[in-house]
Amino acid sequence: MLSYIIRRLLLLPIILLGVTFLIFCVFSLLSPMQRLATYVHDPGSLKSAQSIERLIDKYHLDDPFPFGYINWFKRILHFDLGWSQAANQPVWEAICQRFPATLELVLYSIIPVVLVGIWLGVISAVHHNDMLDQTIRVAAVIGWSLPTFIFGLFVLFIFYGILGWLPPCRLSPWAQDLVYTSNNFRSYTHLVTIDALLNGNIPIFWDALRHLIAPIITLSYVEWAGLLRITRSSMLETLRKDYVRTARAKGVDEHTVIHLHAERNALIPVITIAGMLIIWMLGGVVITETIFTYPGVGFWMASAAQQLDYGSVISFALLFATLMVMGNLVVDVSYALIDPRVRLE
């Protein structure tokens, strides 16, 4: 077990190095002038040709590829990711400021994905080929085919346009004033719902929650469908195993067979997929936040991409890839902990 974890940990820096190399290759497609724009926050300093050349020299943008990479890599190690025009602040600062909002959204979305996805998957497998199974399957295929951005617009239309229940953004104006500008609200975690509870401020909690529900629905819907499919096929396979038949033959009641005997084994592969799905959510975050103008990293990324703010865009690739590599590691290790067969491979 330990050797497996050590092997995975040793691979981690190699993968991360490869990731930065690939990102730098993409970054190098830009001209030195375009790359320079990602470091300069005062357009005035780009007026004369001499100062441009001096700056290109300063940031080693015209160096041969390997040297350029080493210089760029060094700056990254110091969290110097350049200047974001879209946010009008250093990229790293902008990331730190916006990340908690995204984290809050993703954390809350995991709950419905896992609960609903697994629950429906088990039902679908137990009622194999019934009307119920067919209905759930069709719903899953439709969910799988429904682009997040169309579903999100639909949610926005129903719950905000028609019903007016779930407004976009992260907080209402009055709550924003209280949370960000007044001194009566202390931010412990920067997750507004949790901070509100810690401050004992229930109105803020409800307001934050009300703004979160629509993005959560949007972000989780497509993922339910994926998880449901995996749970269903894994459960179907397990229900056909000999030990399940033995349990039934002994006269164990159906509820115990399904929930105690079959489900436990069937859910092992599901855990990996659930981990993967949560990682995939990172992509969905960009769409969801854009639709609901939710001020997280994703929303900022979309506007940075539209404004051709290359420095921010490249940093996102770096951030999301790092998160994904870490996430994969956690998934693999937890999988090995749960299922001893993995370690032997």
């Binding site: 993409v26 830009l30 926005l156 990172l282 969905g284 769409i287 539209q306 865009v313 890839a321």
Partner: protein, 311 residues
């Protein structure tokens, strides 16, 4: 093979998929007849008015635009926006029809090229094994370390707007799944006696891969190809929706939905006033993707040996 096709047609859900797909093929083929182009580039959606606000279905082309076309010597055959116009007066109906061609182009080209690259890389990796396999698989891991949408978005932003750039990005980050899939199958198949026999006879490596191994292992890749056409179209549409995909005015469903973003809420007191700006392009995307997924889903169930005989 015959059994597979028979099953595809006898299963209700895949039959729906096939019928939908045939309808889309007809729309794409007859696009110039259904919606005659008004400019030299047929993928440029004609405008029906200069007004920013969307116009309701049945809107008739405004006079000042008709004058422009008359001046250019174009004969306006269709002056009624059957499905209304989206932001900026772009004709929704025209965009839907020509967008079908765009969707087929994106889906088929990206999936076929990336499957080809993936199969090539994966089969080399599996067949030669050893350090070649190790290096290729680590490179694959690196490409897999990016969320697909984010990677495609970043590369498209760097390359610049345009459908060709979108396709390059989708292919660059879309081949790894196929490589892993074919690698797994070939690793199992290369131990079979027929491969040993071919090797003993001195058949060249390339010929063994191309003539013996691939025909026996390619089927799961085909299923994956069918399943991925839909998701590639979704990703391309998402890029357009986020404003980094097709250029403004290009016949692309994703972009039509992105126009809708500002109008979906409607005006105060008239919620859903502009329902048509999202409804029509949305329904086209969903049905297109659904048709591929229905076929792919059934195909996978048919070919999955664990579920064989259960359908």
């Amino acid at each position: 093979m015959n059994r597979t096709i028979r099953k595809l047609f006898s299963n209700a859900s895949s039959l729906v998929g096939i019928v939908l797909l045939i309808i889309f093929i007809i729309i794409a083929v007859f696009a110039p007849i259904i919606a005659p182009p008004l400019s030299d580039d047929p993928y440029q959606v004609p405008r029906m008015s200069w007004n920013v606000n969307p116009q309701a279905p049945g809107f008739i082309m405004s006079d000042n635009i008709r004058e422009v076309y008359d001046y250019m010597g174009k004969n306006v055959k269709q002056d009624r926006a059957i499905c209304g116009t989206t932001e900026g007066g772009y004709d929704i109906f025209y965009g839907l029809i020509w967008g079908t061609r765009t969707a087929f182009k994106i889906g088929l080209i990206t999936v076929i090229i990336s499957a080809f690259i993936g199969v090539f890389i994966g089969s080399i990796s599996a067949y030669f094994g050893g350090w070649i396999d190790e290096i290729i698989m680590r490179i694959t891991d690196i490409f897999l370390s990016f969320p697909f949408l984010v990677a495609a978005m970043v590369l498209t932003t760097i390359l610049g707007r345009g459908l060709d750039k979108v396709m390059i990005s989708l292919i660059t980050f879309g081949w790894m799944g196929y490589a892993r899939l074919i690698r797994g199958s070939i690793l199992a198949a290369k131990e079979e006696t027929y491969v040993m026999a071919a090797k003993a006879l001195g058949v060249k490596d390339i010929k063994i891969i191309g003539k013996h191994l691939l025909p026996n292992t390619i089927f799961p890749v085909m299923v994956q190809v069918t399943m991925n056409i839909g998701s590639m179209v979704i990703t391309a549409a998402t890029l357009s929706f986020l404003g980094v995909g097709a250029p403004v005015g290009y016949a692309d469903w994703g972009q039509m939905v992105s126009f809708a973003r500002n109008w979906i809420i409607g005006s105060p007191g008239h919620a859903g006033q502009y329902w048509y700006v999202v409804f029509y392009p949305g329904i086209f995307i969903v049905l297109f993707v659904l048709s591929w997924n229905l076929i792919g889903d059934t195909l996978r169930d048919i070919l999955d040996p664990r579920l064989r005989g259960e359908l």
